[in-house]
């Protein structure tokens, strides 16, 4: 069995080979210092993936420490395990996380997106939680027009959506919310961020630690193949014209296998036979062995020859670095092996005992009699390089000079905004997702937040995902603050109180100071927001190097926020319910057009300063709304976001065949400003006439600005009077352009 000690089949460790593995000369020096010798080819590969940004967060870790991560409800903290866990009462908890699969989706949209979903689901059930729903946050270049770029963007969009549908539908998890934006900064580098939430009892929390010296280490799940070789390293590079040649770095997903793996693991974790469990995600077998050993304060020794393999003749290097999907590492309490293997056999899953937990702190990989890797596990997992990058000084954007903004008739603007793909209905997307399986979806996609009833726990969860990257481009910190506020506002509109945040930081190459500034500022903005709303960041993902030859993407720190609704009667949606109901605006009329979608979509200008945000006012607004909802005074609630008040009013008219009149005659400013500004902290609610007095009395107590602006009507028209003008749009026309915009682009 033993190969010759010289290993003539292996490449020599040259500076070129080291560079090809993405390790800097300084990092290689560190490798030499840890090992006290030259690494083997396999070891070089192991260091390469473990010290990639994707696995080590070497460029972002000092920034991420700024997040508030603790709190009385935090059961498992960010960074401790595969996902954070938050207490939701009565002995129940939720595990949730968002993760990116941007680069794989850029070169192979269907499988890239599918495996992104598969990966995040594994992160959740590895925690011992039963996954209950998914969300996703997507960004593409513009899909309008007949340019090659637009055609490519449409192909990417269609492929990503189909890939998410393929995986989520097959495994049987509803995709109940999300967001999709289109902007040319994502040309060549789309963003695919997938979120999963699972539910568990406190006592079910599983740990990814290799506990118990002498315990056997089991491999279960799909056989290891050559797919996804060193994908973590691939994800930590800029995309170039040559990236298509990296297609082998994209994995192929098998949702059916993952469904079996999910059920088997949950059955397994219900026994007391498991000492530790870890999924094989980025960096596969390498990452799972060294992380479990590091967390357990132990060592792990495995034999490559025992690993179930898809093809013959794979080298140890390939097996170690493969990112084949649907695989788990399970540390079993010695003596309980048969209990575990019976469950694997029931679910027809390949498995093998591939190693043992040791007491020497080493990650040791054998190939039969040969030792091919021997590295201190803790050094590999935790002692990776950390970089304090340089941030460029920030020049705040000049405020928008309104005198340079030509007036466009609002009659024409509103339908154009509603037809803008970023604002238009995403029904074309979510109709492809099974959003009702698991029979808990109480609010279908398309409202401010998704609402899901977890029957076994008797809990009502709400979730929203938000990030306006135009704001972030112009002022990263302010954009990030607004992303947190908007997510919280969306939850409030559904009747929920926020309990936790997971973030996906999508940025360009951090070596460029202007990009690093964006990362740092966004983290600070998110931190401020989370501290203000008193919600912990429970984990997330950092995706850097999101660049194409045309440059970096707009900074996109996606915020996914989870909330709790106390009672069924508090569930609130955005659609108007009944003619005669009175419409109130909570918050100011507003006047900020900087960074707005009106400027972007109508004037083609991405400029100006994003709107101001006052967390105290914002919190008062949300608490006031929740108070009104709990008193049963609110028929519908919808926040004003992209497109401002006019878009919010139009969207509230959709769904129940109703119309609305709004009287803003007393507002003395340009009608386009009144209708389309994106001033923060505004919510449109409707109220039964009989409750109006009670509502006003409640509002008067709080100090939140409000005004009655109109009435819900049977006549299916949206009618807004402002200044001296009266605008009238048939709702059917508005909903027509809103619904048809994306299908007509995609089905042409």
């Amino acid at each position: 069995m033993a190969t010759s000690p010289a290993k003539p089949d292996q490449p020599a460790i040259t500076p070129e080979l080291i560079a090809k593995h993405g390790l800097s000369p300084e990092e290689y020096e560190k490798v030499l210092a840890i090992l006290g010798r030259e690494p083997s080819f396999e070891e070089l590969g192991v260091f390469s993936v473990m010290w990639s940004e994707h696995c080590s967060y070497k460029n972002s870790r000092p920034e991420l420490r700024k997040f508030p991560t603790t709190g009385p409800s935090v059961l498992v903290k960010a960074g401790e395990e595969n996902a954070g866990v938050i207490d939701i009462g009565d002995g129940w908890a939720v595990a949730f996380k968002i993760e990116s699969h941007n680069h794989p989706s850029a070169v192979e949209p269907f499988q890239g997106a599918a495996t992104g979903v598969g990966g995040i689901i594994r992160d959740i059930f590895t925690m011992g939680a039963r996954p209950v729903f998914l969300m996703d946050s997507l960004r593409f270049g513009s899909i309008e027009g007949e340019t090659e770029q637009a055609k490519t963007n449409r192909r990417l969009f269609a492929g990503v959506v189909a890939g998410i549908a393929h995986y989520g539908n097959c495994i049987g998890l509803p995709t109940i919310a999300g967001e999709v934006y289109f902007d040319d900064s994502y040309n060549g580098n789309p963003l695919v961020n997938a979120f999963c939430l699972g539910i568990l009892r406190h006592e079910q929390i599983a740990r990814g630690a290799a506990k118990g010296v002498g315990n056997p280490v089991f491999y279960v799940g799909a056989e290891t193949g050559r797919d996804g070789l060193a994908g973590a390293a691939f994800a930590s590079r800029e995309l170039t014209e040559e990236s298509k040649a990296d297609r082998p770095a994209v994995q192929v997903g098998d949702p059916f296998r993952e469904k079996l793996l999910l059920e088997a693991c949950l059955e397994l974790l219900a026994t007391d036979a498991v000492a530790g469990i870890q999924d094989m995600g980025a960096a596969g077998l390498t990452c799972s062995t060294c992380e479990t050993a590091s967390r357990g304060g132990t060592g792990v020794e495995i034999d490559i020859q025992l690993v179930p393999q898809r093809a013959k003749g794979q080298t140890p290097y390939e097996v170690l670095l493969s990112e084949s999907q649907e695989r788990m590492l399970v540390i079993v309490n010695k003596g309980q092996e048969s209990q575990v293997t019976e469950i694997f056999e029931k679910w027809d899953l390949p498995y093998a005992e591939i190693g043992v937990v040791t007491d020497d702190g080493m990650m040791r990989v054998r190939n039969g009699d040969d030792v091919v890797v021997e590295i201190p596990a803790r050094s590999l997992a935790d002692d990776g390089p950390v970089y304090y990058r340089e941030a460029a000084p920030f020049t705040p954007p000049a405020p928008l000079d309104l005198s340079t903004v030509p007036y466009v008739d609002p009659v024409e603007v509103l339908p154009r905004l509603l037809a803008h793909p970023s604002i238009a209905s995403k029904r074309w997307v979510w109709r492809q997702y099974d959003h009702m399986v698991r029979t808990g979806t109480a609010v279908l996609p398309g409202s401010d937040a998704a609402v899901f009833v977890v029957r076994e726990a008797n809990k009502i969860l709400a979730a929203a995902t938000d990030c306006n990257a135009v704001y972030c481009r112009l002022d990263p910190k302010q954009g990030a603050r607004i992303a947190v506020a908007e997510a919280a506002r969306n939850l409030a509109c559904s009747g929920a109180v926020p309990i936790g945040v997971t973030d996906n930081l999508n940025f360009g190459n951090p070596h460029k100071p202007e990009n690093f500034y964006q990362l740092r500022a966004a983290v600070e903005g998110i931190s401020e927001g989370c501290i203000a709303f008193n919600v912990p960041v429970t984990g997330g993902n950092v995706s850097l190097y999101n660049e194409s030859p045309a440059g970096a993407i707009d900074p996109t720190p996606t915020i996914s926020m989870v909330g709790i609704i106390d009672e069924v009667s508090h569930i609130t949606t955005q659609a108007f319910k009944k003619a005669g109901d009175l419409i109130f605006l909570l918050g100011e009329i507003g006047n900020e057009l900087g960074a707005s979608h009106y400027m972007l979509a109508i004037h083609g200008r991405k400029e100006g300063a994003p709107p101001a945000l006052d967390f105290d006012k914002e919190i008062a607004l949300h608490q006031t709304l929740l108070g009104l909802i709990r008193k049963g005074l609110v028929q519908s609630a919808h926040d004003c976001a992209e497109g401002g008040l006019a878009v919010a009013l139009a969207e509230s008219c959709f769904g129940n065949g109703l119309g609305a009149t709004a009287d803003l005659c007393s507002v003395d400013q340009r009608p386009d400003i009144t209708l389309f500004n994106e001033t923060q902290g505004r919510i449109v609610i409707s109220v039964k006439p009989s409750d109006a007095a009670a509502l006003e009395a409640e509002l008067a107590k709080t100090g939140v600005p409000f005004r009655q602006i109109g009435t819900v009507t049977d006549k299916p028209d949206l009618q807004i009077a402002t200044g001296a003008s009266l605008y009238n749009w048939p709702v059917a026309e508005l909903s027509g352009v809103f619904e048809e915009a994306i299908p007509s682009l995609m089905e042409a």
Partner: protein, 243 residues
């Protein structure tokens, strides 16, 4: 003691890749005196059950033709036997596809005509009520029951279609809100807007829509309850007749 005998026992078959199994179980158990249990596909008996449900999902990933591998599962021998003995068998979505593959229902389900997976609320017209599955409904009644499938386009040859119509085996058709079975209301290109059919013996029923998803007003509707109620009423009548 006398109450115990009236409990209806329902088997929800769990194939590898089933994903509506627990949804069906919960929907059935929301009715009084019903005991729905998950039965693993490697079992070989369904003796003692009053109703057998083949739930939705992606059995064996549906990587081959939908349902074409599940029909070889060990449990299917027992399901076939029970069906021939007159036990009620309900196949929903992937369950419908499996029943067709197993030859317990005629025809087949093909890729949706738009090629995309579709999940949405869908109106259905009740076509025939002389079966245990539809006895509580009215002919022409419009139900709102969601669909969620990529391969739900019902197809059968002309002779089979003729026979299905002549024997009143088409129980549900896709329709608009007014019950008109127009082409616009057809979400997947099914022949004659067929959404659900029963066997010649009227004890096997397959449908693409998911009645278990609309058994609770909180989840957007209760029209699914009418189908389950019909089934349960039929079973209790039969048991009463037996006594």
């Amino acid at each position: 003691m006398p109450k115990v005998t009236t409990v209806m026992r329902c088997a929800v078959i769990q194939f590898p890749g089933s994903n509506c199994d627990t949804d069906c179980q919960a929907a059935l158990n929301s009715f009084p005196d019903v005991q729905a249990e998950i039965v693993w596909h490697k079992e070989t008996s369904v003796a003692g059950y009053d109703l057998i449900v083949l739930p939705g999902g992606f059995s064996y990933g549906d990587y081959l033709r939908c349902g074409s591998i599940a029909r070889f599962s060990p449990i299917m021998g027992a399901v076939r036997l029970a069906a021939s003995a007159g036990v009620l068998v309900l196949g929903i979505c992937n369950g419908f596809q499996i029943l067709c593959e197993a030859g317990l229902l005629p025809g087949t389900l093909m890729r949706n005509r738009g090629l995309l997976f579709r999940c949405e609320h869908q109106h259905l017209s009740v076509e025939y009520t002389g079966t245990p599955f539809t006895s509580g409904l009215n002919k022409g009644q419009v139900l709102d029951i969601p669909i969620a499938h990529g391969e739900g386009s019902y197809f059968a040859d002309k002779a089979t279609l003729r026979e299905l119509n002549a024997n009143n085996q088409v129980l549900l058709r896709y329709a608009d809100a007014d019950g008109v079975t127009s082409d616009e209301a057809n979400p997947n290109g099914s022949l004659e807007n067929i959404a659900g059919i029963c066997s010649h013996g009227r004890n096997v029923f397959g449908l693409m829509p998911h009645p278990e998803r609309v058994c609770d007003a909180l989840l957007g509707g209760t029209d699914g309850r009418a189908i389950f109620q019909s089934i349960l009423d039929s079973i209790s009548k039969t048991s009463a007749a037996r006594v």
